[in-house]
Structure formats: C-alpha cells, structure tokens
C-alpha cells in the first residue's frame, strides 16, 4: 500500500514538473503541437472511461467535444461570459448531454451502441453546420477571447500549455480517484459481465449513465480548451473523423489503463508530426502503422511496454499495480 502511495506522489510530482517546464518552452511550433496533444489526450481519457473502464463503445465523442467548444465559444462571444464560467458551463452542459444520451442508449450493446453514438455525433455536427443563426454555420465562431488567469493572459502558447497540462492532470487525477472507488469497481464488473453485475445487485443502468455523463463532461472541457486556444471554432473540427481519432488514440494507448490514453496521444502526435517530411506518402504510412499496431498489439501500447519493463525487472515499483491488474485479468478469464 505504501508503495502505491509513493508511486502516486511520484506521478503527481512528475506532472507538476511537466507543467512547470512547459512554461519555459520557447518553440512556438512545438508548443502548438503540444497543446493539441494535451487536448487529444484529454479526449482519449474521456473515451477511455467508456471503452476502457465500462466496456461501452462511443463513436460520437466529437459531439461532446463540439458541444463543449461551442458552449464556450457562444457564451464568451455572444453573452460575454468569462472564460472560466463558460468552461464550467461547458462541463455541466456536456455532462448533461452525456446523461441524456445515455438514458436511451445504455440499453444498447456492442455495435448498436457504436452506431447510436455515431449517429449522435453526426446529428450534433449537422446542427453545428445548419443552425446558422446560433452557431454561425460553416463559418464557425471567430474571435473567442483567450482566457486570463490571475492577470496573466493565456494567449501565449507556453502559458496555455501549462494551463492545459494542469487541467489534464486534474482530470487524470479525478479519473484515478473515481476508478479506484466503488464506482470504478462497479464499472469493472459491468465491463466483465453485465448480467452477472446485474445479478450481484449493481445498478448497471445508473453506473453506465454515470460513465456517460463523466465522459461527456471531460470531452466538454477539452472542447472548451480547444475553443480558448484556437479562438476560432468551426463544425469540421468536430466530425466523425475526430470521433474515430479519439477512440483510436485511447485503444492504441491501452484501454482501461490510467496512462494508456496519454501514451496513445503522445505516440500518435509524435508519429504524425515526424512523418510530415514524407508528404504524399505520409497518411498512407501513418494509417498502415495504425492498423499494424491494432493487429499486433491489440491490448494497447502502454500495457505492452509496462509488461516488457516488468519482464526485465526494471520497474519493480510498477509491480504491485500490475499484480493487481493481473488478478483482475485472472478474474476476467475465470468468469
């Protein structure tokens, strides 16, 4: 137990160091890429709650992302709310959307849920595109004011990176706490076997709703960050492709692990940026690598790496955690 605690605080420390050192970054290109990577990581964390921890597919995560971004965009430009209030509103609104979307769809299983969430994403996108009096249609919303924190304007990319990293850390911490609480254990049960969870007296419906709501809320925060960083939003950012990218990031990284989505976002960002020199072949090779990784590492990159590390005995600290997962896995294979 003590070891776990050390690990926990080490992670927090590393996170803080990351945030602080990010403030000293000077290369604007790296800064921009990093901010987008942090947003991607947050989105992956949000979908991981569904796909990884609860076993629910979501192909409409970009819908929440978009609603979050548009809430911030509209509230700050049309009604002149402060960014922070708008961000809070975005979180609440997307959580509610998640809840409402969850009400009917949590009864669906597997692919049906996938298609239903996909439909949700498309409906949201169509609304962004066609409700021109509110959303500006395809022109989007321009001129969103970048947030200010204690008098420091976050329009500078390094400050924004620090801020978004901080948000990411808070979100990950929140997920960590939730997943290791009774809620998380209930989710795990549901993922392994819904019917037996039901039989053992877990309110499957309620816990699934909770997952949807929290997942939507986190994606909404990511949307708010995007709006604050880009200062411009338009519907094509929140389309089906985005939803696919989000779920791919989470699954490549390692669904059902705390750091998997972060690793996924990092790896995909580095890969996508480093392939830029290939020009025309870039996307072909990028997709080919994605498929290869899915085929050969179906459990995800992070679990693969941590397994390798453990085999070599480097990460003895990781042992306890992994043993716990192993026990879970045993449970899983027995059930």
């Amino acid at each position: 137990m003590n070891r776990n605690r050390i690990l926990f605080w080490t992670c927090i420390l590393v996170g803080m160091i990351c945030i602080l050192s990010s403030l000293y970054l000077q290369n604007l290109y790296i800064l921009r890429v990093a901010v987008f990577a942090v947003i991607a990581a947050m989105l992956a964390v949000s979908v991981n709650l569904l796909v990884g921890y609860t076993g629910q597919v979501s192909l409409g995560q970009a819908g929440f992302y978009g609603i979050g971004a548009y809430t911030v965009g509209l509230l700050t430009t049309q009604w002149h709310w402060s960014f922070w209030l708008a961000l809070l509103a975005a979180f609440i609104l997307t959580s509610l959307t998640g809840l409402i979307l969850g009400l009917p769809t949590t009864q669906l299983k597997g692919h049906f849920l996938g298609i239903a969430t996909l439909g949700f994403g498309i409906i949201v996108n169509v609304i962004f595109n066609n409700w021109t009096s509110l959303t500006g249609g395809p022109n989007g919303i321009r001129g969103i004011a970048p947030p200010e924190l204690f008098g420091i304007s976050l329009q500078y990319e390094n400050y924004f990176l620090g801020f978004s990293l901080f948000c990411l850390m808070v979100v990950v911490l929140m997920v960590h706490l939730v997943v290791n609480s009774a809620i998380g254990r209930a989710w795990k049960c549901i993922r392994h076997d819904e019917i037996s969870a039901q039989v053992s007296g877990i309110n499957v419906y309620g816990y699934k709703l909770m997952a949807f709501s929290l997942s939507g809320g986190i994606a909404g925060i990511a949307g708010g960050l995007y709006a604050g960083f880009m200062t411009f939003i338009s519907p094509e950012t929140f389309d089906l492709n985005q939803s696919i990218t989000i779920i791919t990031t989470a699954i490549l990284g390692g669904p059902g692990t705390l750091f998997g989505p972060l690793v996924g976002a990092g790896v995909l960002t580095v890969l996508s940026e480093s392939l830029r020199a290939l020009n025309e072949l870039r996307l072909i090779i990028y997709r080919a690598i994605l498929v290869t990784v899915i085929v050969f590492l179906p459990e995800g990159i992070y679990p693969f790496i941590s397994k390798k590390l453990r085999k070599r005995g480097i990460a003895s600290q990781l042992k306890l955690k992994d043993r716990r997962r192993e026990l879970d896995e045993q449970d899983f294979s027995q059930s």
Partner: protein, 290 residues
Amino acid sequence: MVEFAQTLVNGLVLGALYSLVALGLTLIYGVMGLANFAQGEFAMIGGFSAFFLVQEGVSYPLAVVIGFAVAGIIGLLVHLLAFYPLRQSNHINMMLSSLGVSLFLVNLAQYLFSPNPQVVKSPLSGESFNLGGIFISQQRVLIVVISFILCLATFLLLKHTKFGRSVQAASLDPDTATLYGVPTKRISFMTFILGVALTGIAGALLAPVYNVYPTMGISLTLKAFVVVVLGGMGNVSGAIAGGVIVGLIESFAGGYISTGFQDAIVFTVLFVVLILKPQGILTKVQGEKV
C-alpha cells in the same frame, strides 16, 4: 402531386441502392460479428476497377463482373492482414481495425489514382424514363433490378445450399457449429470475400451515377450501417426493408422538411428505432445468452 410521386420514386430507388451496399455488410456482420467500416471502400475499389476497364475498352457489363472479382481479391488480402489475426480479440479492436483499413484504402487510392473524380460511361448513362412527368434514369433502374436480383440470390444461397446453411450455423453459434463439423474459419473467409465482392458490384454500378473518386465510400458505409441496423444486423431481407425505409425517409425529409438536416433526421429515426426495437425492425427479440 408530381413532386410527391417523384420524391417517392427517388426514395425507393435510393433505397434499393442502399440495400445493395448494405447486403454485403449485413452478411459479414452476421458471420464474423464484424462491423466493417471499410465496406464502402470496396465500392470504391469496384468503381475504380470498372473505370479503368471501361477506359481500356472493356464493355461495361463485363467491367461490373470484374469489379466483383477485384473487390473479392482485395477483400481476401484485407481479411488476411487486418481481420484474421484479430479473430480472438474483441469486437472493438476488429471495428477499429476496419476503420484503419478504410482510411488506409482511401489514402492509397488517392496516391495511386489521384483525387480527381472520374467518369465511368455506361451504355445507359444520360438516358431517363419519363412516366408522366416522373423521371427515373435508366442506370438507376438497372441498379434497382440488379439489387433485387442479388438480394434474392443471396437469400436463396443462404436458404438452399450447403454453404448457406453453414453460414447460418456459423452466425447462430460458431462454437456449436464447429463441433458439428462446420469449417467456421473457412466460412468466415468466404463470407467476407462474398460480402465485399457484392459491395464491389455495387460500386461498379453506382459509378456512372455518382462518378468515382477515393473518398466516395465513406458516406456509403454510414448509410449502409443505418440500413443494416434498421433491418437487423445479419438479416438479408432486413437489408432490403431497411434500405427502402432509409431511402424514403431521406427523400421525404429532404423534400418536405429540410435538405440541410436530412442526415440528422435519418439518424434520429435510427435512434428511435434502436430504443424501441434494439434488434432491428425485422428481427425477433432474443434473450441474451449468459
């Protein structure tokens, strides 16, 4: 009145066209449990092969048949590389793999064939039937006829041949089917190839109407999914019913409500159906096995 009739006809024709794409998808889902997001890309492959063949002077009907074969062969490769290794893995990974394959094929096609739309000339293109002010293009009539024939043929194939019975057994319960000596692995291979090859035909038939370009498949895949979910996944007659329903909804929503919100309306209907009848319109509700 004419407008109403035209909208009705548009919807029915569109429905038949969606059924054709959905047919392959529903077959594959039934046997492999794979929600194949790369389905539309096989229509693109069929379309491009028809384009190149017609350009080389091959007659259009023959080009359609070869389109079937080309899509089947590429389907075999894709199955071997991207789906077969994942057969023990969960459905989400399979689905994700198909998404990856879909994007890969689009980018590859763009690299090889350029992003430009290409025109495929069919002997029927540019000609229409005029039924008292209601117009239907002849190529679309051809699509409706072939779509009907193929659905019927697939239905009979499943009902009355040994292969068909094995497919049905494999889709009902693969483990038991294996115990009874059904070669489920081979069956799943063959179904996948048949499924994507059927979509290849669809692509070759759609080419004269919609032109051929690398990104043509994505919207087809989405519509096919709606059709399949409405009709019940893995259900051939459901694909026809679903296709017609989606075609009509789309057409009337566009004609009488709003063309901008067309897709949103289609997906809203899908939502409602999913909530009321999660197994699809034509499928009987089954209890889940524990």
